[in-house]
């Protein structure tokens, strides 16, 4: 074991001692090491393939990433590295695996878009940028101090701006990129200001030290407000959500699904961990804040979603509303809340990627992206319509599908801590959300159209991705072993 444990004022000298650190300890970082290796292999493969054979990079990278995903499921040793900056435990490993599964589905869905002529010379760029953001997210989830957290957060954010501006011919894509980088830079600035105040009070940037010395005073409260505002930008909570709809609409659909599922999932994981560990003694201070944010996020996002016509904007507001539901789990503030958050994100990955997959397949085949454009789609594309219906039912939380169980555990966690009024508001919001989800279903099944989306057959990659999503939507809901495993891991981590 690593002999050094972080202590006040001990940051100098001791952390640099590598003598008693053997190389096998680096295996704690297996997820990050594998992803870094994958990134380097993608770079080498890009150099090694001829210009005419660049398309072969797609199946190659997907196979490579599938191996990385499978390798992530082997147990990871527990412990800390770099003087407490990096921590590894079963919970972080679980979160990284959840994100890996999501990225694998997104890679499968990207195939049709990457094969377009204007993208064919930049296939490896897409994969490289995505994998490097994922490395940042993994370091962020595993961070043991605020410096590692901040570096991970930025590594996860900066390349996404490049991805959002990936479509060279659409000026909207460039616009989405600049909006994303500027708003995320602002949010990191605000977040850092909060962290600097917390550092000023506690004298440490290590999570464990801060948790021991932090007390409730006005400066900590101010720092905490800044911190929550910064994280609110990243998770796109109301009132910090203004960039979301614009960026989601402008970015390529594949990048939008990455932003709405993986980015948001990773940020909410670390937000939950920090609230449960660093600010554990200040629950009386942060609970009202999260309560208010949850109410506003659910209500405002639902009201905005009602009037959207573009499918991407519609799903953007729906994903903001889902983040509001996620806060209910955080309010639970116990192992049930933690496991409800992880479980909900896992379901949300399958559900939302299913919905985005259908939107992407239709957009690739016919260019239609509006809800009205989906009129009469059941006649021409019955399978895709059914899949979309399933995904939307799961997002709305209708009983037989997984989304219901995800919401159920979040509500149980909040009710367990006595937030009955909040649960009531959430249930009302879930009912409102049913209306706009069913609007899309109505367009596909009931509305008639003179020129519906023509019948098309999506590629084998897209079909595989969609089948994984459907399997996930059913399996995660019905197999209780999945929730039990997550629950067990969270219990061991927190208590």
């Amino acid at each position: 074991m690593l002999s050094y444990s972080p202590s006040l004022g001990g940051g100098r000298g001791e952390a640099l001692k590598f003598g008693d650190m053997n190389l096998s300890q680096f295996l704690m970082m297996r997820h990050e090491l594998l992803l870094t290796a994958a990134a380097l292999i993608i770079l080498i493969a890009e150099i090694a393939t001829a210009d005419s054979a660049k398309r072969k990079l797609i199946p190659f990278t997907i196979a490579l990433f599938a191996m990385v995903t499978v390798a992530g499921f082997f147990p990871v040793p527990e412990g800390t590295l770099f003087g407490g900056s990096y921590q590894s435990n079963p919970l972080t490993a679980l979160m990284k695996n959840v994100l890996n599964i999501g990225v694998l589905i997104i890679f499968l869905q990207a195939e049709g878009w990457l094969k377009r002529p204007e993208n064919s010379d930049r296939i490896s760029e897409y994969f490289l940028l995505t994998v490097s953001t994922l490395i940042g997210m993994n370091f962020m989830i595993s961070s043991g101090d605020f410096l590692m957290f901040y570096i991970g957060l930025e590594t996860a954010t900066i390349p996404i701006a490049g991805l959002a501006a990936f479509d060279r011919i659409r000026s909207r894509s460039a616009e989405a990129g600049i909006k994303l980088i500027l708003s995320s830079a602002l949010s990191s600035g605000v977040l850092l200001f909060g962290l600097s105040l917390i550092y000023g009070v506690t004298g440490s940037i290590y999570f464990t030290d801060i948790a021991q010395t932090i007390t409730s005073n006005s400066m900590v409260a101010l720092g905490f407000i800044f911190f929550v505002s910064g994280m609110g930008f990243k998770i796109s909570l109301v009132p910090f959500h203004f960039w979301t709809a614009d960026v989601y609409e402008g970015a390529p659909i594949n990048v939008t699904s990455y932003l709405s599922v993986i980015s948001k999932g990773a940020a909410s994981f670390i937000f939950t961990i920090i609230l449960f560990t660093v600010f554990k003694t200040l629950t009386e201070m942060w609970k009202p804040v999260i309560y208010t944010l949850a109410v506003f996020t659910m209500t405002v996002a639902n009201l905005f979603a009602l009037r959207q016509q573009n499918m991407k904007r519609f799903l953007a507001f729906s994903s903001i509303a889902q983040a509001g539901f996620l806060l209910l789990g955080i309010l639970g503030n116990n192992d049930l809340g933690m496991s409800a958050v992880v479980y909900f994100v896992l379901i949300y990955i399958f559900t939302n990627l299913g919905a985005f997959g259908v939107v992407e397949a239709i957009s690739n085949a016919s260019g239609v992206e509006t809800i009205d454009g989906y009129n009469g789609m059941y006649k021409t594309n019955p399978k895709l319509s059914l899949l979309m219906t399933l995904a939307l039912f799961s997002l709305a939380g209708i009983p037989p599908v997984a989304g219901f169980f995800g919401k159920f555990f979040l509500f149980t966690a909040a009710a367990g801590s006595g937030y009955y009024i909040l649960v009531l508001i959430a249930v009302l919001n879930a009912t409102v959300s049913l209306y706009y989800y069913l609007r899309v279903v109505r367009a596909m099944f009931i509305e008639k159209s003179d020129n519906p989306v023509p019948t098309f057959k999506s590629s084998a990659y897209m079909r595989t991705a969609l089948i994984i999503c459907v399997a996930g939507i059913f399996a995660v809901g019905f197999a209780s072993v999945i929730f039990d495993t997550i629950r067990e891991i969270s219990q061991n981590f927190l208590y």
Binding site: L147, E154, E175, I178, L182, L197, Y199, F242
Partner: protein, 105 residues
């Protein structure tokens, strides 16, 4: 410890810088100026970290290290942002935010 200057003065400067940055981000119309506003915010954070470290916890270096990393990451962020601004400029021949309005709330 710097002779004759209490910690409050530094904190007042950094707080004023932070809010000038926020105001500049909201009010300025030129994308490059918005980027400068963000740099102001990040540098106010750096002042905070370094000053807290120097005055309150002089026996350690965590704040200084944090400031160094913030400088480095701010540079990375600025380079990507400027690349994207050039991208916008090539399309619109203009870098005023009023023109970056194809997407609206």
């Amino acid at each position: 410890m710097i002779e004759g200057i209490p910690i409050q003065h530094f904190l007042i400067v950094s707080t004023i810088m932070f809010f000038i940055g926020i105001a500049g981000f909201i009010m300025r119309r030129n994308l490059i100026t918005i980027l400068m506003a963000i740099e102001l915010i990040l540098n106010s954070v750096n002042i905070n970290f370094v000053i807290f470290n120097r005055y309150l916890y002089p026996d350690q270096l965590q704040g200084h290290f944090f400031a160094i990393f913030v400088v480095g990451i701010a540079a990375a962020e600025a380079s990507v942002a400027i690349a994207l601004i050039i991208n916008i400029y090539r399309k619109l021949k203009n870098i005023d935010v009023e023109n970056v309005n194809e997407l609206r709330y």
